[in-house]
Amino acid sequence: MIDKILPSVEAALADVGDGSTVLIGGFGGAGVPEELIDALIAQGARELTIVNNNAGNAEFGVAALLKAGRVRKIVCSYPRTADSYLFEALYRAGKVELELVPQGTLSERMRAAGAGIGAFYTPTGYGTDLAKGKETRMIDGRGHVLEHPIRGDVALVKAERGDRWGNLVYRKSARNFGPTMASAAKCTIAQVYEIVELGALDPECIVTPGIFVTRVVKVPRKKTTAVPAEAAA
């Protein structure tokens, strides 16, 4: 019997090694796998490359990883927010490297990794500072930039519910990077609020099929909405 469900976030993250590239879902506060990130801090892996849209807020999530000194490099599109002071201090002190990537290119580079694409040309960024040093080519009269896949050793994603085969569904805009990151890592770990029986997820509506998911772990639900009836649905 295939059962991808692990009993705890600690068990799910036990084998993450130093120097790993970790893809972490979330956009702003939506879809951030906070319990998995906390467990990664406790687990102790160092010299990590983190791929996330942002560079953490206040002292939660990715910012907490930064604070714990576990991050060597961040690959992201938008590290500057009102409360991204931890990243800013480390960046200015030269203690963390930044690779700034346009958001769509970030997502597409991970899609490319998941889809077995060697590299791709995109007009995004052509002629800008973010294309400096990259190979370019004119295609149909338009400048394009060559972009390479981003592969993760591990992906940490937050979904709403999952089953023992690793099928996942998400909730509203918390879906964001989850499905793409799940496809782009050697080991994808999904935290869910609810584990359901096989067959309980409508096959027409499964967003991430289990082939992209290595481990599933249940975490206690946090209140994400002021409408309890809706959250319980």
Partner: protein, 219 residues
């Protein structure tokens, strides 16, 4: 003659009037978000949010915020009946794949040839780009919403951008607090000048020739 510059809300209202029924539209973070408050109620317009929403509705009533349903500026929003959620790569396919009809973006500078500078002022700030470059190259029409002049009175419409570029030759139209300016092969073409503002004065403030809309190029 004297003239009163448009407020940001008034610029937003102008832009909203020009968005047709059925358009798929992305409103950039900051000033362009105001356009959403002025969309004509009798038109169905699809607002897209880069984090995976089509058919985005207004902010929820107090107490009904759902932090799993936020816009690109990370503020709580709602979903219209008929709206859809999708993942990031699909969302950016909509942006990069020429599916959006209009992107309304803020800007630091726009050049006469439509170059856009809106993601960085260079210097010492932490660089952050988000989806700006994807929208700039991907939307069928990039409209810029900005004040015509900087706080120190320099034109934000320039011969060549001095700030780092977001995209080359991408802007089609600029809505400012003074006029609406189309970027055309024959140069800047202005319409809807403020009452009391002459073309000569607009030219002087901009520092670049501005043609009246409908005028023919000088022989």
């Amino acid at each position: 003659m004297s003239y009163a510059k448009l407020t940001r809300e008034q610029i937003a209202a102008r832009i909203a009037r020009d968005i047709p029924e059925g358009a798929y539209v992305n409103l950039g973070i900051g000033m362009p978000t105001l356009v959403g408050n002025h969309l004509p109620k009798d038109r169905e317009i699809f607002l897209h949010s880069e984090n995976g929403i089509l058919g985005m509705g207004p902010a929820p009533a107090a107490g009904l915020e759902d932090m799993d349903l936020i816009n690109a500026g990370k503020e709580p929003v709602t979903l219209l009946t008929g709206g859809a959620y999708f993942h990031h790569t699909d969302s950016f396919a909509m942006m990069r794949g020429r599916h959006l009809d209009i992107a309304v973006l803020g800007a630091f500078q726009v050049s006469v040839s439509g170059d856009l500078a809106n993601w960085s002022t260079g210097g010492d700030a932490i660089p952050a780009v988000g989806g700006a470059m994807d929208l700039a190259v991907g939307a069928k029409n990039v409209w810029v919403m900005m004040e015509h002049l900087t706080k120190t009175g320099e034109s934000k419409i320039v011969e060549r951008c001095t700030y780092p570029l977001t995209g080359i030759g991408v802007v089609k139209r600029i809505y400012t607090d003074l006029a609406v300016i189309d970027i055309t092969p024959r140069g800047l073409v202005a319409s809807q000048l403020l009452p009391g503002l002459t073309f000569e004065e607009l030219h002087r403030l901009t520092g670049i020739p501005v043609l009246p809309s409908g005028a023919r190029a000088a022989a």
